[in-house]
Each structure stands twice: as structure tokens, then as C-alpha cells.
Amino acid sequence: MRTAFHFQGVPVSWRSLGITLVVAALLLAVPTVLNPYQTILISYGLVMAIAALGFNLLLGYTGLTSFGHSAYFGVGAYTVAFLVKYLGVTSMELYIIVGFVVSAVISAVFGFLCVRYTLVFFSILTLALSQVLWSLAFKFFWVTGGTDGIRVPRPSLLAGTFQFTGSGAFLRFVNSYYYYLLVVFAVCVGVMWLIVHSPFGKALQAIRDNATRAEFIAVRVWHYRYAAFLISGVFTGLAGVLWVPLNGLTTPDVFYWPFSGEIVFMTVLGGFRNFTGPIVGAMIFNYLKTYAVATTEYWQFLLGAVLIALVMVLPAGIVGTAMQLLARLRKEA
């Protein structure tokens, strides 16, 4: 594999560069080439990709399986809903900033409870905490709007520069928001890439592989797991914030455990041992879900069955398996 250039000492191959540029070009062309419905679909894909990236920092890189990531997504979503309902805020930037802070706080609290434990205890505790939030959102219906939810109108972008009212607003919003999302997505991917390739990221992977040895090389395991949890929660919370304008409505379902299951599924589908796995998985999952939900009423059954099949038969996921095949082909060549 030939090196194109070095980024801060890391060799970047022609192949990675080529793939990234092609993907970037494709993504940029979407609103021009595809119709609004499909643009919205890909927008959802980008949002979930951010959530999955956050989730996988814990699973793929730190070895912690969270079944309660809907908690942070929901916190982001409800932050926007509350900003709209109680403070009349319409600026997307404010949504992002406040959502970031609130997700960080919730992740900090939940992380403190969860990170002292590993494996099963950790996993069920994350599930349990998300269920607590769900039951609160459900029961305090006079605050959260209960199952009817809270409606969120189209926000203004770039500190009020772009507003989406009047004729043709829908189409303008779909396209503008798509580009907005694309930029945020690119930033998130870049930041996460840096994190997992940094010394911190390597320390996380060491903890994943051998927590005991990590302690014996002076890496204090608890601290790193907690930091990873915090970052993970914030990424997923940000995804929740970005999701609301697409959906227009925030309901308690966003906290309910099957939604966590979807995040887990899309990450495993793409491959949780690769950086791009969660992104690919999220995009593909989005399409799968749209068509599957239209076909069958037992969507959750399908999800569970395929998850089991993936774990048993294709544990490396789509990206992982593809890379294995490529490596084998190159060896034979």
C-alpha cells in the first residue's frame, strides 16, 4: 500500500485517500442528485452514524457493551424539545451547545454509576438507567408531553442566518439541513478518528484487551473508562440533538430500550472492530429499516434474529469481513 502523505506522522495511503474523496464527493452530491425523500433518509443515516460512532468508542475500543445508549440520544432530543417548548429557542447552534452540555452532565452522572463495573453488570446497568429515563419521560407527561410528545418546528441555521418559513421552505430546509449535517458529521468523524488513533485511544484498547496489565503499566483503568463513557455519551447526545429537526417530534420512544438495540445492531452490522464499521452499518441499517418496517410488523423480531446471526456467523460485520476478504485476496495475488 503506497503512502500518499503523512498526517502528523501517520501514513495515509492512496487507497484510504481515494475512498474518502469518492465518499465525500458522493455525499456532497446527494441533494442535487437524489429527491428530497432520499435526502432525508441519508440525513437520518448521518445522524445515526454519529450515534453509532459514539457508541462504538465504548464497545469496539474500550470493550464495554452499553445497552442503554438511547438515554443520551433521548437526553439530546429532549433538550431541544424543552428549549423549544419552555424557552422558545429556535437556533440550531443553541440546541447543539446546550445539548452538548446536558449530555455531558448526564453521561458524567451515569458514567460514575456504571463504570465501576464491567461486563454484564455494566451492560444491564446502562439498560436499567435508560429505562429509568424512559419511565420518567412517560410518567411526567405534563412536562414531557407524554406519548404525544413535543413538536419541534424547523430551527434556524447559522445563528439565524437561514430561516425556513414561507413557500418552498420544506425543500430549502431539507437541502440546507443536509449540508449542515454533513459538516457536523465530518467534524465528528474527524474528532473520533483523532481520538481513537491518539495515545488515549491506544490506552483504551489496551484496557479492552487486558485491564490487569493496563494497571501494571500505570494506566488507571477507571479514569480512562470514565473518559470514554463521557465522550461516547456526548457524541450520542449530539446525534439526538441533530435528529430532532429531521423528525419534528420528540416522544418517550426515543428512550425506550429497542432504540438502544438499534444502535447496537447497526454497529455490529457494520463491524465493531473497525473505525468505519459503525458509519457503514448506520447508513445501511437506515435503508434496511425503512424497507423492513414497511414489509413486516415484527421488525424487532427480525432485528434480534439478524443480530444473533451476525454474532454467530459474521462477527466482523460488513466492513470487517470485507477487509478480511481483501487481505486474503491480496495474499493470494
Binding site: V10, P199, K202, A203, R208, A214, F216, A218, V219
Partner: protein, 251 residues
């Protein structure tokens, strides 16, 4: 000059006195072999000194400080490191990454989140140098889980050594490898330790290895120190020989 010593160290597991009133010393630039039959307490002693378990009573002193209640991390930062008998590596990371991680941790750079690890040239150079010293440089990109057993044992030691300790505890560094590999491992480890001018404590069963590479031999039996002296003295110690090999030491 003593760099580490324990005072009446005790550790019991239930009814077993794994470490029974042990006064163990290590001098600067000294290679000490810790020998004894299985269950003598060698690994338990090392476990207590390196911080895996707290002692029931007694104290540990390192470079003039009482480290008895230090955490593992604090001990590593003070200068005590260890390798493991059952190889304990980061299997999904490469040999290079295993050693680099120890270097990053030592230099307190592991909190850095927004710069690529491979971009740190100081760490890169040092890691490559260490890999060369341990004859692992051609396996740098191989995942630790995919190395041969002898290489894994060397890597285990390399990771501990990368922490630049003052005292390095090696728990059976040659166990589970062929005789030819044993010599190669011990030659490499010995060269690195002597060249680095650090002290080492080696738990070892192979008496040939012990006599050839150590400055001093400490023998434990049933949790107590039974003998402590130079190789020649130990060799002539009939009681030690009887316990260890059931006869006299030859050659």
C-alpha cells in the same frame, strides 16, 4: 546499596501462609534469582511487592520510601515493574503498539486525545530501539496474539522494561519455551538488564539459568526465605539442593 527491601512481610490465603515473615532485599544493579519449589511463595511475594495484593502485615521499602500502601500505578511510577508468568499482553495490538503504550504511559502522554499516537517521533524512536534490543523489531506490526510463545515471553518483558523501572520483576520468563529459546531469551533479557543498569528479580525453576545469570540467589520454601547467597554458596548448600532437586548440584 539496597534499593528495595521488605520487613517481616506476611500474606496468607486462608490457612496457607504464602508469604511468611519475609525479609527480602534487592541491591542496585543486582540480578537476584528467586527460586523454590512450586507453592514456595515466590509468585506471591512478587505479587505483594508489585501491588497485586496488599500484605497482611509488614512493610515494603523502595529507594528509601515506604511503598507498602501504594497503588499499582504509584509503584510503577516509583520504578517497580513486572512481567508475567502467564503471558499478559494486549493481544489485539501489535508488538510495536504494546511497547509504545508502555512508553506513552511512562511519559504520562496517554491522556492526549487529539493527536495521533504514531505522530510522536520520540516515542516511535524509543519503541523501535526497545524492539531491536529485544530482537522483536521484525515482528513490530504482528499482533501480540499472533506471535510465537518465545516472542510473546520476550514482549512481555519488553513491555515491563519500557517503563524504565529501577527494579524489574520477571516471573518465570523462560517457562513454557524450548531449551534453545530459553537461552536466547535469557541472553537478551540479561543483556538489556545489565546494559540498562537496573536491578532484576527473576523467578526461575531452571537451575542452569539461575547459576549462569544471577548475582545472588534467594531460595524460598513454604513462604519463608531458606537461603540467600551467592551462586557458589548456594551450590554447595546441601539443604537447598535436597529441596530443589532431591540430591546434590552437579558441575
Amino acid at each position: 546499596m539496597t534499593i528495595l527491601h521488605t520487613v517481616n512481610l506476611k500474606k496468607s490465603f486462608g490457612d496457607t501462609h504464602a508469604v511468611d515473615n519475609v525479609n527480602f532485599t534487592v541491591g542496585t544493579n543486582e540480578v537476584v534469582a528467586l527460586v523454590g519449589s512450586n507453592g514456595a511463595g515466590k509468585t506471591s511475594l512478587v505479587n505483594v511487592i508489585t501491588g497485586m495484593f496488599p500484605p497482611d502485615s509488614g512493610t515494603i521499602h523502595f529507594q528509601g520510601q515506604d511503598v507498602t500502601h501504594y497503588t499499582t500505578t504509584e509503584r510503577v511510577r516509583a520504578g517497580i515493574a513486572r512481567s508475567f508468568q502467564l503471558v499478559n499482553l494486549f493481544d489485539k495490538l501489535s508488538a510495536y503498539e504494546n511497547v509504545a503504550l508502555a512508553v506513552f504511559a511512562r511519559d504520562r502522554k496517554t491522556h492526549r486525545m487529539l493527536s495521533p499516537a504514531d505522530g510522536d517521533s520520540a516515542v516511535r524512536d524509543e519503541t523501535n530501539e526497545l524492539l531491536r534490543q529485544f530482537a522483536l523489531h521484525d515482528k513490530a506490526v504482528t499482533l501480540a496474539g499472533g506471535l510465537a510463545q518465545g516472542e510473546r515471553k520476550l514482549l512481555d518483558v519488553a513491555v515491563a522494561y519500557a517503563l524504565r523501572p529501577r527494579v524489574l520483576f520477571l516471573d518465570e520468563p523462560t517457562s513454557g519455551v524450548s531449551t534453545r529459546d530459553k537461552a536466547q531469551i535469557m541472553d537478551t533479557v540479561s543483556a538489556v538488564v545489565r546494559g540498562g543498569k537496573i536491578s532484576a528479580v527473576i523467578i526461575e525453576h531452571d537451575m542452569d539459568v539461575v547459576f549462569r545469570y544471577s548475582d545472588r540467589i534467594v531460595m524460598m520454601h513454604e513462604g519463608r526465605v531458606l537461603a540467600d547467597g551467592k551462586p557458589e554458596d548456594i551450590r554447595n548448600n546441601e539443604q537447598v539442593a535436597m529441596i530443589l532437586i532431591g540430591g546434590k548440584f552437579t558441575h
